[in-house]
Symmetry: C2
Subunit: 164 residues, 2 copies
């Protein structure tokens, strides 16, 4: 028994609530949010987003990677977003390991050579937000007139606090 089957069942009730409506492909608020995959963060209710409001990009840690830049370029150039929020959070899985140990464990378990692969762990969540905001500001593919904010989500309280 997989959870996928449960999701398909749960989706039936959602279809009834959703109804049929074609919203525009371009996000209404012109915002893209980069955040973590963490299960304790539901981005739409935490930020008060309606369906169609904003792009939501998520990976382990909410880190600014080449793939997040690829996605943001499409978000901005094809779909008109003009603002980015980098939202990391407390008690993150990216704070649960050291890269060198993690890579060594994986190389042994999977019998692969990962060379200098960086799984992008961090220790200080304010620092990781600042680093990733800086990566966006330095990217040659992100225009200077894009507004970029950093913030932290508290998984215990649901509170979002700006990072200066």
């Amino acid at each position: 028994m997989s959870y996928f089957e449960n999701f398909i069942k749960a989706n039936q009730a959602y279809i009834d609530r959703h109804g049929t409506a074609h919203l525009p492909i371009k996000p209404k608020t012109k915002v893209a949010i980069i955040t973590c995959m963490d299960a304790r963060l539901h981005v739409a209710p935490a930020l008060g987003l309606d369906l169609g409001d904003a792009h939501i990009l998520r990976n382990a840690g909410g880190r600014v990677t080449e793939d997040m830049i690829r996605s943001l370029v499409i978000s901005q150039q094809q779909l008109g977003t003009q603002e980015v929020v980098v939202l990391h959070h407390t008690d993150c899985g990216a704070q649960t390991f050291k890269n060198a140990d993690f890579v060594a464990d994986l190389e042994e378990r999977f019998q692969v050579n990962l060379q200098d692969k960086n799984f992008l762990p961090f220790t200080d969540v304010e620092e990781s937000v600042r680093q990733d905001v800086a990566l966006l500001k330095d990217s040659p593919l992100i225009p200077d007139d894009i507004t970029i904010f950093g913030a932290i989500y508290d998984v215990d309280t649901g509170r979002i606090s700006p990072v200066q």
Copy 2:
């Protein structure tokens, strides 16, 4: 005026509803969902997910990239997930451009050399799901006992349909 300030205001009401509760860092259902950043897809209600239930990974298209593999490895090895759902959708932004034209436009606009950069557009959404499920099954870092499903979300109806 930025939308970020609106989000911070909207978050105040969410904090009141959230209350204080420490959920486990490991997702309850042991599922990770890879999907698109599209604004018309709110993953948690569409799949009936409660807070703490599942990892949600999102990029442009919901494509399986090196960064998604990085994130899944952390999800599986550090945080115990055992099932993956690749969920693409109708009317995707990744269907709005051809890679060669997009790269040429970006190179002119930003005065950069993007070489053979692939922004991962697709035309057929069932085919893109199958391709990405295959990438996961072929990855040396994804164990064979991880269950992998593919599906498509219809942005007009909210319906999720399995892809075989």
